[in-house]
Amino acid sequence: MLVLAIDTATPAVTTGVVALERAGTTVLGTRVTVDPRAHGELLTPHVLEATRDAGVTPRELAAVVCGSGPGPYTGLRAGMVTAAALAHALGIPAHPVCSLDGIAAEVDTGEPFLVITDARRREVYWAAYDASGTRTDGPHVAPPAELAARATGRPAAGHGAELYRDVLDARVVGPAYPGVAGLVAAAAPELLAGAEPAPLTPRYLRRPDAREPGRPKRVSTA
């Protein structure tokens, strides 16, 4: 089956067309630009370019897989609403996958590892995986220092591991960002089973900043 993968949970604007079979995945066309401020602009043009590279039209796609974060909000939403609208217009299912799982699916260390991405505001998103790549903890958001004890000397993928190398002292392994093959692989069991997709709900992991107002400020000086 032809699957369109999308992820905008990291600075990378990632999309591509992947052929998924029981035997595995084949990337037919992909477009990735690392620019944290251009998710809204670049994603749909990238989708059209990637499908063209794959030699298919959007109508031939059987499903969309979308990274649901965790990720900084604005960019994450660009990918998720794009996936939702594409799936709606094409009449195909859209499956969310944890973006950290999309990275983990392309890690091959043979031992337990972490995936760490940048959450901005001096924090990271992270999750822990066992040697087979199954998520055992997370995703969470935390200051890198809180993660240092678990990360030191351990293999860690995701651009957060590199960004906070000084604090974490992890053994940085690839990839830095979710790849289209990894995203589709993370959703493969449910795609191949034809399972009903979970709702496309973003993993924000933080509440919006908003404070309830107190009494109106006095304007009289007297």
Partner: protein, 348 residues
């Protein structure tokens, strides 16, 4: 052959999807107008919280589109063009609608038009009252904008004559409501309270109406402060605040300035039609006073029904239809959201 235009709006706290039919004679017919509002989620904060609005847009976008197609009895494949609010508005909120519109346009293989929200507030009137005469004058009043515009062509010929130099009219309503202990948004509760009050009870200032002030600009910040001062003084004297009288007198000051300036502009520029739109256009005193003053001055007044005046997708679909009919070039699929898009820029 008539064409179907889908309109998507997400500039503030309403997720709107509208569907219209552009007929061969250039008239535009409303087919669906579905809105999901996050206003209740903002109420306890006393104003729109951008992140809360953006989250709500993402959740509501596809369900709202689904409702619109069901209401119109149309399929997505019936769509011939898509229009989306490109600005002005909240950056993160706009981005959700723009990204959705691109995805719909790409997968349906139809042209995309990124359009101006403010022009949409004017274009929406054609759904109810038919084609706009050229030129006409438009007064846009809402929580986010207060502008007086000359409209030669809603699809590309809009000139700003004046705007607020501080608060939007609707913002003044929200702030005064807070001072009076009324809920957010302030427009409807102040309008309701004012019905029981005396509009001449308190002589609140009319901002920007001095002989040296710009003729067509507005200012509501001084009025808002004057109301707060008056209420504080009454409280200091231990008096009960006459909420109805304060609301009525405040509302009278707003309606007086807005209508006086609009009618003066129409008269001086020799323009025979005034359109009042935006959320505050639904205010009962504003429309009554505008009707009275326009009648006296021989000006035709057009006010879309309240449902069309507030933010919605139908206004964007209507504008998109007029832009499509004008033969304008579609937008690229790489357009950005423009939080500060000037009113003169109808398409991006």
């Amino acid at each position: 052959m008539s064409r179907i235009v889908m309109g998507i709006e997400s500039s503030c706290d309403e997720t709107g999807v509208g569907l219209v039919r552009l007929h061969d004679d250039g008239t535009v017919e409303l087919l669906a107008d579905e809105v999901a509002s996050s206003v209740e989620q903002h109420a306890r904060f006393g104003g729109v919280v951008p992140e809360v609005a953006s989250r709500a847009h993402l959740e509501a976008m596809v369900p709202t589109a689904n409702r619109a197609f069901a209401a119109a009895g149309l399929e997505l494949s019936d769509v011939d063009a898509i229009a989306v609010t490109a600005g002005p508005g909240l950056a993160g909120a706009l981005l959700v609608g723009v990204a959705a519109a691109k995805a719909y346009a790409a997968s349906l293989d139809v042209p995309l038009y990124g359009v101006n929200h403010l022009a949409g507030h004017i274009a929406v009137d054609t759904l109810q009252h038919g084609p706009l005469p050229s030129p006409c004058l438009a007064l846009l009043v809402s929580g986010g904008h207060t502008q007086l515009l000359r409209v030669d062509d809603v699809a590309g010929g809009i000139t700003e004559l004046g705007s607020t130099v501080d608060d939007a009219a609707g913002e003044a309503y929200d702030k005064v409501a807070r001072v009076l202990g009324l809920p957010y948004p302030g427009g409807p509760p102040i309008d309701r309270a004012a019905r029981e009050g005396d509009p001449a009870a308190i002589d609140f200032p009319r901002g920007m109406t001095g002989p040296r002030d710009p003729k067509f600009d507005f200012s509501f910040s001084g009025l808002k402060t004057a109301v707060a001062r008056w209420v504080e003084a009454a409280e200091r004297r231990g008096e009960e605040v006459p909420v109805a009288d304060v609301a009525a007198s405040f509302q009278e000051a707003v309606a007086d300035v807005l209508t006086a300036k609009a009618v003066r502009a129409a008269t001086e520029l020799g323009i025979g039609t005034l359109v009042i739109s935006g959320g505050v256009a639904a205010n009962s005193r504003l429309s009554a006073l505008a009707a009275q003053r326009c009648a006296e001055a021989g000006i035709e007044l057009r006010v879309p029904r309240p449902r069309l005046c507030t933010d919605n997708g139908a206004m964007i679909a209507a504008l998109g239809a007029h832009v499509l009919a004008s033969g304008a070039k579609p937008s690229g699929l790489d357009i950005s959201a423009h939080p500060a898009l000037p009113v003169e820029t109808v398409t991006v």
